[in-house]
């Protein structure tokens, strides 16, 4: 784990009409770390992710990626930097198989003719490297997978592209206990493999099981950054609900 952040946000603001969704957010995530982003509904978690992913453009503030200031105007800019997002409502096509979904929109082709063999081999390799072992066949339609397996495919799809930063928006929201474990294990593995991971979650149990550090957002502002090892769920809940005094922040 290096100390210079891979992604650093300074004083990010974003308004929708008269509603200020982000009122000056500072945020950072380092390589090889799982940073959780928590906060109540409307705290600005999703908006922040969308600003990084290029779905929204921030009104003000600075974004630094790998030490360089960058401007993210659209999803393509984000993808070029190596930023991938796994959305809450899985962006998978049920009718397509695992391989087809992994390469959706970026199919390997020669003169527009699909290179199925290479795509299949690469998919198997990616899944293996992430220890996703429960998928019976990479040629199985996604419709026949369980919720956990589907989420695993969505995550694998995001890391397939030499991405450096993966943002996960509520990856366990719709999953059962065993499947949640499966996905959280996968999230930890991403961090172990040196990626920077941002995990957005409502579920503090999930957060405490996976995250290295926790950023709390409240009313469009960052309340504080907590080391998981040195904090408790109680402290986080207080920060989420009331905001925390600055001295409680650990750096």
């Amino acid at each position: 784990m290096t100390d210079t952040p891979l992604l650093e946000l300074r004083n990010i603001t974003k308004s929708f009409g008269s509603v200020q969704a982000l009122a000056g957010v500072d945020f950072e995530v380092r390589k090889g770390e799982v940073m959780a982003l928590v906060g109540d509904n409307g705290a600005g978690k999703s908006t922040l992710v969308k600003c990084v992913a290029g779905t929204h453009e921030a009104d003000g503030g600075q974004i630094f990626f790998d030490g360089q200031e960058v401007h993210i105007h659209g999803p393509k800019d984000a993808a070029r930097l190596g930023i991938e997002v796994v959305y809450q409502d899985l962006a998978l096509c049920d009718n397509l198989d695992v391989v087809q979904n992994m390469y959706l929109g970026r199919e390997l082709n020669r003169f527009q003719i699909l290179e199925e063999a290479t795509m299949e081999q690469q998919t198997a390799k990616t899944l293996k490297s992430l220890a996703v072992t429960t998928i019976r066949s990479v040629r199985q339609p996604v419709a026949t997978l369980s919720g956990g397996q589907r989420q695993s495919v969505a995550v694998a799809k995001a890391v397939q592209w030499n991405s450096k930063l993966v943002l996960l928006d509520e990856p366990t929201a719709a999953l059962g206990v065993a499947q949640t474990e499966q996905v959280l294990a996968l999230v930890r593995r991403l961090g172990e493999q040196g990626l920077a991971v941002v995990l957005i979650s409502h579920n503090l149990n999930d957060v405490f099981e996976t995250a290295d550090r926790i950023t709390v957002l409240r009313l469009g502002k960052s309340v504080g950054v907590f080391e998981r090892r040195n904090t408790t769920q109680q402290a986080i809940v207080e920060a989420i609900t009331f905001g925390a005094p600055a001295k409680a922040v650990e750096e």
């Binding site: 066949s137 040629r139 499966q182």
Partner: protein, 422 residues
């Protein structure tokens, strides 16, 4: 954190993704069970349906099982099948195109006008057909762009097209009644028959295509799932294809009009060529993959960076082009374009063909070959009932019941697939 691999397990034991179903007959049973359980029936129901239909008519109708009637069946079904090919792509997107019946009429009208002997613009029939198909594709693309960029539902846009193109045909033909087509190239599309030995050569080429494609995959995709084919299934498919191809040519070669011997109809070859081309487009190209993706989950496709409106426009262009080609074939069948065009229930028969052929109305599921099988089933049904002197009313009723049955089966298949995904 280190025990990730243990935690990562589902209830089921982990299976190596490389592992495949066992080979030979044991694998066959396992695969059949898996497909049945997951609602992945493929073309099986329609092939069974076709076999049953043929058997019933063979036993009851005296002049159904004749070589000449068989050749008729091909030339009669060709136009519908051509339209149904386009319908497959539109349905794959989860859209509908109601304009194709009269768009086929526009295609026929354009070739009829352009070949008109004595007119200042008279041109070669091949050029006329090319222009007609391009115009129909552009019309389809125009309708598709209203769907894709403006966001008007395809049902409404193409319903508008349905009325507009019907009106154009009425305006054009109300005074003149019928335009006779004399150009031989145009008429050949539904009335040219290959000589016997060329028919056999074509059968041999078509038969060879399947093993060649399997071999190609086995070489280029060594060690992957797509390269694996169960030898029993391979033998059954290759054998079945050979029987069908040589059977069609063999029977067609016995067809006669009075004393003139016919042969394999060009219309049948056109159908097979487009079947291969469009299947290639749907299954082997990025465009085809994107069509399935948009039909499966348009939002996911958009997020994956696929230009969804562009795909929609192109699909409606395909639908327009196949309608134009189908229209030309229909015009060639009667060597003219009349006010009564399109014949019968062309639009509904074309959509029914695709649906009976297993193309889902909900988008994302289906194959081009399904349209051909569906059109052949409908053609056989209507041809057989005709030879039995069944009234038109009953022909519609029976076609409708078959359609209803096919869609019900499809809905069950979708439900099974959802359930197997838990």
């Amino acid at each position: 954190m280190t025990s990730a691999d243990v935690i990562g397990q589902d209830k089921r034991p982990p299976v190596d993704p490389e592992e495949e179903l066992p080979g030979g007959f044991a694998g066959l049973r396992a695969r059949a069970w898996l497909n049945l359980r997951t609602g992945n029936l493929g073309p099986a129901p329609i092939i069974v349906g076709l076999a049953v239909t043929v058997a019933i008519f063979g036993l009851t109708a005296t002049n159904f099982f004749t070589a000449t009637n068989f050749a008729n069946l091909i030339t009669e079904s060709a136009g519908t099948a051509m339209l149904a090919y386009g319908v497959v792509f539109v349905l794959l997107l989860g859209e509908i195109d109601l304009s194709i019946g009269y768009l086929a009429g526009i295609g026929a009208l354009i070739v009829a006008e352009l070949q008109l002997p004595g007119s200042s613009w008279q041109m070669n029939g091949i050029l006329a057909m090319l222009i007609a198909v391009i115009v129909c594709a552009l019309i389809g693309g125009f309708q598709g762009s209203i769907v894709a960029y403006v966001g008007v539902p395809s049902f409404v846009v193409t319903l508008g097209g349905f009325l507009i193109w019907q009106g154009v045909i009425l305006n054009k033909l109300e005074q003149r009644g019928t335009i006779i087509i004399q150009d031989r190239w145009i008429n050949y599309t539904d009335s040219y028959f290959f000589s016997h030995w060329i028919g056999w050569v074509i059968a041999a080429i078509v038969t060879a295509l399947y093993p060649i494609s399997v071999l190609y995959k086995a070489i280029t995709a060594r060690g992957t799932h797509i390269a694996q084919v169960n030898p029993v299934i391979f033998a059954a498919r290759a054998g079945g294809l050979a029987i069908v191809a040589f059977g069609i040519v063999g029977i067609s070669n016995h067809a006669k009009v009075i004393t003139t011997s016919l042969g394999l109809p060009l219309a049948g070859v056109i159908l097979v060529v487009f079947l291969i081309l469009l299947t290639f487009l749907a299954r082997w190209t990025t465009f085809g993959r994107h069509v399935y993706a948009v039909g499966g989950n348009a939002e996911a496709a958009r997020r994956a960076g696929i230009n969804v409106p562009r795909i929609r426009v192109l699909v409606f262009m395909i639908s327009g082009a196949t309608a134009g080609i189908g229209g030309i074939i229909f015009a060639a069948q009667v060597n003219s374009v009349a006010l009564t065009f399109p014949p019968g229930n062309l639009l509904l028969n074309a959509i029914a063909s695709a649906v009976i052929g297993g193309v889902s109305l909900f988008g994302g599921r289906g194959e081009v070959r399904g349209a051909l099988l569906g059109a052949v089933l409908i053609g056989t049904l209507q041809n057989g009932l005709n030879t039995l002197n069944v009234s038109n009313g009953w022909i519609y009723i029976i076609t409708g019941l078959v359609l209803l049955f096919a869609v019900t089966l499809d809905t069950f298949a979708v439900r099974l697939q959802k359930r197997s995904g838990r």
